[in-house]
Symmetry: C2
Subunit: 139 residues, 2 copies
DNA sequence: GTAACTGCAAACGATTTGCAATCTC
DNA sequence: GAGATTGCAAATCGTTTGCAGTTAC
């Protein structure tokens, strides 16, 4: 993390540690909760401010899912895609081997120049399928 | 629109008309503004409630873009993809001819069953590129 | 020592909810 | 006429900001 004159404080260390240990795309509230487990009393504003810094410095990506009102944080910064369970909200990373020529082809008519892309795959995760099998109809 | 005992009111008619006429993925605030042009004095809550109904009835889709805090509404309900300009926020529809076997292949290891997908293509739209050409560095 | 950072509380924007008056069927 | 819908205002949720005290460098 380095934008101008940025200082490493215990609070920021904790946020970075939590992000590094989280592969489940936590929301800001979840990051806050985990940070407070390491360091009770941390202010919410501090976590929000640190998350903004971490995103700006490119060490972490923001992720927004349709059907959800909150921002999630993704420690994986290299290009990748997402499996989104529409039942429980779980988000997993996947890598889609996609021929980018197809994308550029599609973007050409509107003269749109592509920087990146992210395939959002919606469906039902294995856990939710298993739950439905044991408890059809849900409760 | 039909969920249980739903009634067609002038306000709902106006929201449906606005959505039908909007191919630019308006936010709720933009829908409200356009509805009020047809029918001043409509309450914001009415528009929000109607949008929720329209989404639930499947006549319209919600769309959330990373880097944006609001929900957009998409009158196009058949599966399609999106060109998102990271400069001006403009969102356009595109159709990506994607071999779905690739998706199922990627989902298999985690036993995720796919319902749908949406390729978010980020980049810069033609208008923003032109603007930069005439006014480099921005203002 | 000083500029950056923290926690708190208040402000904020988007959306939702409670409710009495008003409409649609 | 009954039940659904409206508009308003207040409540809520996620996030940001102002500020006085504290800390990293």
């Amino acid at each position: 993390m380095d934008l101008g004159t940025t200082r490493m404080t215990p609070q920021r260390r904790a946020v970075l540690d939590v992000l590094a240990a989280s592969d489940d795309h936590p929301t800001a509230a979840e990051v806050l909760e985990r940070v407070r487990r390491l360091m009770p009393g941390v202010g919410a504003a501090t976590v929000y401010r640190t998350l903004a810094l971490v995103v700006q410095s490119g060490e972490c990506a923001q992720l927004r899912i349709s059907e959800e009102g909150t921002t999630r944080y993704d420690r994986t910064v290299r290009r990748h895609d997402h499996l989104v369970c529409t039942e429980c909200g779980r988000v997993d990373d996947v890598q889609i081997a996609l021929d980018t020529r197809v994308l550029h082809e599609a973007a050409k008519p509107s003269s749109f120049s592509i920087t990146s892309y992210d395939v959002h795959i919606q469906g039902r995760c294995a856990m939710c399928a298993a739950e439905d099998r044991h408890n059809p109809g849900g409760n």
